[in-house]
Each structure stands twice: as structure tokens, then as C-alpha cells.
């Protein structure tokens, strides 16, 4: 059973790997383009640098494999004796330097945008606990904990006998998601109550450590409504793999209605 499934996966894997590129899309092999202005820029940077690396690799390995094919003793190659050239050393120092400068410009521009905390419209404080998240809407007096959903939690126990395949969004679902409005520049603050955690949602292009004694800030502005899933990225102990993040992005009206419903159930308390 175990082995049969492995063999099946291997077979499917190799078939899909050899199949057309669109088939690969379902395998999630690349960074998501995401749904925020920053995540788009990060994606573009990632693809640019990746392409540059592929081009350099093709060139260098191309030369090397040509040499391996051509300059082999079995083909009767006679070894040359040249072993020094200041000119080429300078060339292959300067050209990479120029390429790096070309990479540094767009990266710096994006970084400056990421750190621009002006025009903030609302703030949510995120606190990491072993092993759950706490969200606190600072202006609106709404706060709650967000834990791994019961279904995943039951299934993920050692020898549970349950099949993760039967659980929708296994390990990426919570009992209560963070609800955020679209089109609004939101400040997110992270901190932690025990050990270091890290709040990561790939679709939003954000990852920030939550550190006890520190408050980190960053921002996001979600473009389209949807459910975006992430995880704790910093090792935080036994259940590090079991404290997902779910962000539900809704339009402004829906957000206000949700906020109202939360005010009715959560008494206004001072933030933690």
C-alpha cells in the first residue's frame, strides 16, 4: 500500500514533469504572483533574477560542456599550457559587477516601497503564541484567537488513521480567519508572547517575524477579495507546522458588516 502509493506518485510525477508546462501549474512550482502591489513587484524581481541566473548558467555551463566534449584526451586533445591572463580576470570581475548593479536598482526601489509606512488607514496587531495567532483590530476593539481547524487537528495526530486527503485545506485552515478589507492600506504589527514566530502569507508577499519584546510593522494592500492562506515560518517548537494563517479579504461593505457582528460578540477589551 505504502510502496504502491509511492510508486504511483513517482510515476505520475515523472509523467507530469515530462508533460507540457501548463500541467506544471497545478503542481505549484513557482512563487505565486499574489494579490498586492508589493507581491507583484517581488514576483517580477524573482523572475528577473531567475532569468539572469539561467542565462549566466547556460553560458558558463555551455562553455564548460563544450570544452568537456571537445578537449578530451580520448578525442586526441593536446593540453595547452596557458594559465594566466590579467585581462580576462578583469573582464569577468567587471561584467558580473555591472550585472549586480543592474539587479540592485529594481530591488532597492521595491525595498523602499515596502518600508513606506505613510497613509495608513487601519492597524491590526498580530501576536504569535505557541501555537496559535491572536489578532487585535486596534481601532475597532475587536480581537480573537485563530487556531488550526478541528478537522486538520484531528487528522494530523500521529497514527490518527485519518486520511489528510479527506480534509479540505489540510493544515491550511483555521477556526477563525483574519478578515481584512480590500483596497485599504493596512498596517500590520507583529509581536509574540513566548518564542519567535513568523507570519507569512505568500499571496500577500509578506513575511515578518513576531518576536517577544519587539513590535515589528509592515503593510499590505489587498487588491481582490478572496481567501489567502499562509503559515508560521519560524521554528517555534513542537507544533510549529500546525499554526496556519488564513486571511479572508472582503470588500468594504462586507467588512463593516463583519466588524459589526464581531462587536456584538466580543466585549470591548483592552488589547493584550
Amino acid at each position: 500500500m505504502f510502496i504502491a502509493r509511492a510508486a504511483w506518485r513517482l510515476l505520475v510525477g515523472s509523467v507530469i514533469l515530462l508533460a507540457a508546462v501548463p500541467a506544471l501549474a497545478e503542481w505549484a512550482i513557482n512563487m505565486p504572483r499574489g494579490v498586492t502591489p508589493i507581491s507583484h513587484e517581488i514576483y517580477d524581481l524573482h523572475m528577473t533574477i531567475f532569468s539572469i541566473c539561467v542565462a549566466i548558467g547556460a553560458l558558463v555551463f555551455g562553455v564548460m560542456f563544450f570544452s568537456i566534449w571537445k578537449h578530451r584526451k580520448s578525442r586526441g586533445a593536446k593540453a595547452d599550457n596557458f594559465h594566466e591572463s590579467q585581462t580576462v580576470e578583469i573582464i569577468w570581475t567587471v561584467i558580473p559587477f555591472l550585472i549586480l548593479i543592474g539587479m540592485a536598482f529594481p530591488a532597492t526601489k521595491t525595498l523602499i516601497k515596502m518600508e513606506d509606512m505613510s497613509d495608513i488607514e487601519m492597524t491590526v496587531k498580530i501576536t504569535g503564541y505557541q501555537w496559535m495567532w491572536h489578532y487585535d483590530y486596534l481601532e475597532d476593539g475587536v480581537s480573537f484567537y485563530s487556531r488550526l481547524d478541528a478537522n486538520s487537528n484531528k487528522t494530523r495526530q500521529l497514527d490518527s488513521g485519518l486520511n489528510p486527503g479527506d480534509v479540505p485545506d489540510y493544515l491550511l485552515n483555521v477556526d477563525k480567519p483574519l478578515v481584512l478589507p480590500v483596497g485599504v492600506k493596512i498596517r500590520l504589527l507583529t509581536t509574540a508572547a513566548d518564542v519567535i514566530h513568523s507570519w507569512w502569507v505568500p499571496q500577500l508577499g509578506v513575511k515578518k517575524d513576531a518576536i517577544p519584546g519587539f513590535i515589528n510593522e509592515f503593510w499590505t494592500q489587498i487588491e481582490q477579495p478572496g481567501v489567502y492562506r499562509g503559515v508560521c515560518a519560524e521554528l517555534c517548537g513542537k507544533d510549529h507546522g500546525f499554526m496556519p494563517v488564513v486571511v479572508k479579504a472582503v470588500n468594504q461593505d462586507e467588512y463593516q458588516a463583519w466588524l459589526q457582528s464581531q462587536r456584538d460578540v466580543t466585549p470591548k477589551t483592552a488589547s493584550l
Binding site: H46, G57, V63, S67, A77, L100, S160, P164, A233, L235
Partner: protein, 533 residues
């Protein structure tokens, strides 16, 4: 002739036999052998831990181990592989080869050499015994970030004490190498004639002396935080958890070059040999190694972009990290230029060397991608990082070690190894390692975080493939063990030169190298002929 010379000098040392020979030895070759065997045992142990990890990750859900033990496995796998596998293996190579390469009779400090080896088995016995302690083995990652590491059970002080011991051993080894290289070169062996392996080890030894005490300081602060009421890293007492990361990575980043610089040196010995052409750009190779070593001290916070840093800090560490690509690129270009218009043959050491150049460069590319701070916010702590550092460490450091063993094994044993088995070992390793680690790029980019025992379903197929690759890779290394033992026991007699294109003083002594070499200094004419300048 040299054999009789060696025999004449054997009366210096009482002939010890059995266990005493190994316990009391001050001979650089015996100590090198001890280091190499010890590190191989550690590779098998650390590899076994990796296979437990991969077995659990073979499919979603938890089937084999509980999450706490899983975290112990990732932590111990790293500690055993780094401090027990790669570092002692390179020290073993240094012990065997450096005196022979510079024409010295032994290491400068032979008794300390014995001590620095014999600390290791005790340090690791202590570290591994933590697996059986209340609270389990350390499980906070090899990076030991506070405050999580302070939640370790009874294992905590044992982990710290073993790291102290490993540090003492490494620093003593480094002092010995520096003293040997600077004081014991044969007349005529000027610094700029030294083989690249000696150069890279000299630079590595300085890195070790600079950063191991920093690690010792960091773990001592952890110890006092836990047992003596200090609050270096505890915010409740006015401390700072991020401080630990700064100190740790000030050690940790040079540490990764400690693991890879000697590998660069090995490559620079092997590639010219099998290209039958002198190393291209010898001087620039030396300067590039030194530049990498210097830069390694000013890039540490690129491991910490998500910790939260001012913009100026992020920019500084991004630019300085990108700069490392330049000297590293120079090295790769020089190796390719060495092959260019050579007369290449492809014995096993050369195959591993070529795989090193390609696969290490792929790891370098992902490193460059990680340097780009905005993108690092997505890559950080994902499986993309796991793929990156395994590409630089497995086909990087470990392939260099394997290549070095094949390269010098005939010199050590006096026998040729089985080329057919060596090629099997190479192809099995090279293919399975890519099956193991390449898919990790994909799952990381798609959102799988590192150090988790279980994952969402969209990562299942790639993880299954990785696990299959890992088991093939692990098993293939047993073939290597068999091949080495077979070669020690017998095989075609190796000539002194061993390889047609070999140059260097180590190839002027007989194979196997007698217990004592260069008791009289080699002729300066021989040195001139065997070295390039």
C-alpha cells in the same frame, strides 16, 4: 629510497600496536585517518537522521515520529553533519595532505593534534546521548534561537558543553594548521607557490579562530540565561532575543565559508590534474578566496531580513551579500578556463569535481536570489532555503570531500580503487541528489515552510519524490564505504605519481606514503618543478 629513509627514522617513535597506536599517535597521517573515519561515521549517523526526516515527509500526515522528535532530528542532523561530518573531514584532509604538500615532516604541534582529534568522540558521545534524556534531544534547530532553545529539557547544558568542546577542537586544529603552514614550508615553497588547497585551508583556519569564540560566547550567554538568572536574550529582563541572532550569524556566516573554502581548494587540485593543464589564474584564486573570507564577516544579517531592520541595514546587507557573487564567480570562471583546451579524462575524482562546479554554481545562483532582500521576504525560512543550502553543502562540500578521497586514496593506501565502482557511486549519487533536492525549490516557492513534519496536500508529490531520492542517495554511500574498504585491503599497485597530470610534492613520495615523509627537506629544484608560480 625514501622507504629506507623512512625506516631509518622510525626509531624516533616506539612501535605501538593496537588501540594504543591510535590513542597515542602524534603522526599527522594517523591522525588524518582518524579524522576521516570519524567524520565518515558521523556522515552515516547524520544521514540516518536525514532518512528519518524524509521517511516522515514521504506522505502527508504523521506516520512515524511525533513533531517534537522530528524537530530533534532536524536539529541533530545539522549539528552532526556540520560539526561531525564536514568540518572534521576537512581537518582530516588537512592533516594528511598539508605537511606532504609543503614538504614538512609533520604538523607543527603533533601532541595538540592528537588532543584536538580525541576531543571529538567525547563531545559527540555527549551530544548524541541527549537523545535519551528527559525532554529529548535539542529541538530548536541548529541555530539555537533564543527563547525557543531555552525550552530544551535536560539536554540543554549537554548540548552547550559539547559545542564548547567541538569549538576547542576546531580552534586547536586551526592553530595547528596556521603554525604548520607559516613555519614548516620547505625552503623554496614560498606562499605564492603553495598548492591552492593549502591556501584555502590557511584562510579557513583564520576564519575558525575568528568566529568559533563568538559562538562559544553566544552559547555561554544562553547557559547563563537558563541557569544563572541573566537576561541577555530575555525581553522580560531587559534582554533582546534578536541579539542572539546577530551574534550567532556573525559566527554562522563565516562558518559556511569554513565549510566550503577547503572544498574550493580541493577542486583547484583536481581539475588541473585531469585537464593536464596548470590551474588558470592561480593568483586570482588566492585573492578571490581571501575576498570571500573578508566579505563573510559583513553579510551576516542577510539571514535576518524578516527580523525587522532599518532600511539602511537592509540595503547594506543586500549589497554586501551580492558582492560575494563576484569572487565566487571568478573561481568558477577560472575552473572552466582551466578545463578549456586541456586534455581531459574523466576518472571518478574528476566526475565529482565537474558535478561540483555545476551543482555548486546552481546553489550559488539560488544564493544570489536570496540576497535580493524583497524576494528574500518570500524565500526566507521556506524549503527554497533548504534546497539552496543543501545544493552548496551536498554537491558542494560533500562532493569535494568524496572527490578528494578518490583523488588521494591511492596515495594513502598504495592501491588503485575500482574505477567501475567509483563511476557507479558517482552516477547514483549525482542523480539521486538532484531528485532529492531539486523539488525542494518548487515546494518552497509554492509556500512550504521549513522544519515541519507535515504539510498541505499540494506539496505531497514533490515531497514523495524527494524522499525516494534521499533513500537512493543514502544507500549509494554504502557503496562508497565498500569501495574504500576494498581499496585499503588490496588492488592494483599505485605508482608514486598516481595520475598522469598530477603535480605537487605529495606525488613525489611513494604510494602508500610512508609513515614519515620529508624528514629531509625536498630539493628546491623539485619544488620549482612541482609547483606553479
Amino acid at each position: 629510497m625514501s622507504t629506507t629513509a623512512a625506516a631509518l627514522h622510525d626509531h624516533h617513535e616506539p612501535q605501538l600496536t593496537g588501540i594504543k597506536r591510535w590513542l597515542l599517535t602524534t603522526n599527522h597521517k594517523d591522525i588524518g585517518t582518524l579524522y576521516l573515519w570519524f567524520s565518515f561515521i558521523m556522515f552515516l549517523l547524520g544521514g540516518g537522521m536525514a532518512l528519518i526526516i524524509r521517511a516522515e515527509l514521504f506522505q502527508p500526515g504523521l506516520q512515524i515520529v511525533d513533531p517534537q522528535f522530528f524537530n530533534s532530528m532536524t536539529t541533530m542532523h545539522a549539528l552532526v553533519m556540520i560539526f561531525g561530518g564536514v568540518m572534521p573531514a576537512f581537518v582530516g584532509l588537512a592533516n594528511w595532505m598539508i605537511p606532504m604538500m609543503i614538504g614538512a615532516p609533520d604538523m607543527a604541534l603533533p601532541r595538540m593534534n592528537n588532543w584536538s582529534f580525541w576531543i571529538l568522540p567525547f563531545a559527540f558521545a555527549m551530544l548524541i546521548s541527549t537523545l535519551f534524556m528527559r525532554g529529548g534531544a535539542p529541538a530548536a534547530g541548529w541555530t539555537m534561537y533564543a527563547p525557543l532553545v531555552l525550552q530544551t529539557g535536560d539536554a540543554f547544558p549537554f548540548m552547550i558543553f559539547s559545542i564548547h568542546l567541538l569549538g576547542i577542537s576546531s580552534v586547536m586544529g586551526a592553530i595547528n594548521i596556521i603554525a604548520t603552514v607559516l613555519n614548516m614550508r620547505a625552503p623554496g615553497m614560498s606562499l605564492m607557490r603553495m598548492p591552492l588547497f593549502v591556501w584555502t585551508w590557511l584562510i579557513t583556519a583564520y576564519l575558525l579562530i575568528a568566529v568559533i569564540p563568538v559562538l562559544a560566547g553566544a552559547v555561554t550567554m544562553l547557559l547563563t540565561d537558563k541557569f544563572f538568572g541573566t537576561s541577555f536574550f530575555n525581553p522580560a529582563g531587559g534582554g533582546d532575543p534578536v541579539l542572539f541572532q546577530h551574534i550567532f550569524w556573525f559566527f554562522g556566516h563565516p562558518e559556511v565559508y569554513i565549510l566550503i573554502l577547503p572544498a574550493f581548494g580541493v577542486m583547484s587540485q583536481i581539475i588541473p590534474t585531469f585537464a593536464r593543464k596548470p590551474l588558470f589564474g592561480y593568483a586570482s584564486m588566492v585573492y578571490a578566496s581571501a575576498s570571500i573570507a573578508f566579505l563573510s564577516f559583513i553579510v551576516w544579517a542577510h539571514h535576518m531580513f524578516t527580523v525587522g531592520m532599518p532600511l539602511a541595514g537592509e540595503l547594506f546587507f543586500m549589497f554586501s551579500t551580492m558582492l560575494i557573487a563576484i569572487p565566487t564567480g571568478v573561481k568558477v570562471f577560472n575552473w572552466v578556463a582551466t578545463m578549456w583546451r586541456g586534455a581531459m579524462t574523466f576518472e571518478t575524482p574528476m566526475l565529482f569535481a565537474i558535478a561540483f562546479v555545476v551543482l555548486f554554481t546552481i546553489g550559488g545562483f539560488s544564493g544570489l536570489m536570496l540576497a535580493i532582500t524583497p524576494a528574500d521576504f518570500q524565500y526566507h525560512d521556506s524549503y527554497f532555503v533548504v534546497a539552496h543550502f543543501h545544493y552548496v553543502l551536498v554537491p558542494g562540500a560533500i562532493f569535494a570531500l568524496i572527490a578528494a578521497v578518490y583523488f588521494w586514496l591511492p596515495k594513502w593506501t598504495g592501491h588503485m580503487y575500482s574505477e567501475a565502482l567509483g563511476k557507479w557511486h558517482f552516477w547514483l549519487s549525482a542523480v539521486s541528489l538532484n531528485v532529492t533536492f531539486f523539488p525542494m525549490h518548487f515546494v518552497g516557492l509554492a509556500g512550504m515552510q521549513r522544519r515541519v513534519p507535515d504539510y498541505a496536500l499540494q506539496f505531497a508529490d514533490f515531497n514523495a519524490i524527494s524522499s525516494v531520492g534521499a533513500f537512493i542517495f543514502g544507500t549509494s554511500q554504502l557503496l562508497f564505504l565498500y569501495l574504500v574498504i576494498k581499496c585499503i585491503r588490496g588492488g592494483p599497485q599505485a605508482s608514486a605519481r598516481v595520475w598522469e597530470g598530477a603535480h605537487g610534492l605529495e606525488w613525489t613520495v611513494p604510494s602508500p606514503a610512508p609513515a614519515h615523509t620529508f624528514n629531509t627537506v625536498p630539493d628546491s629544484e623539485v619544488i620549482r618543478r612541482e609547483t606553479l608560480a
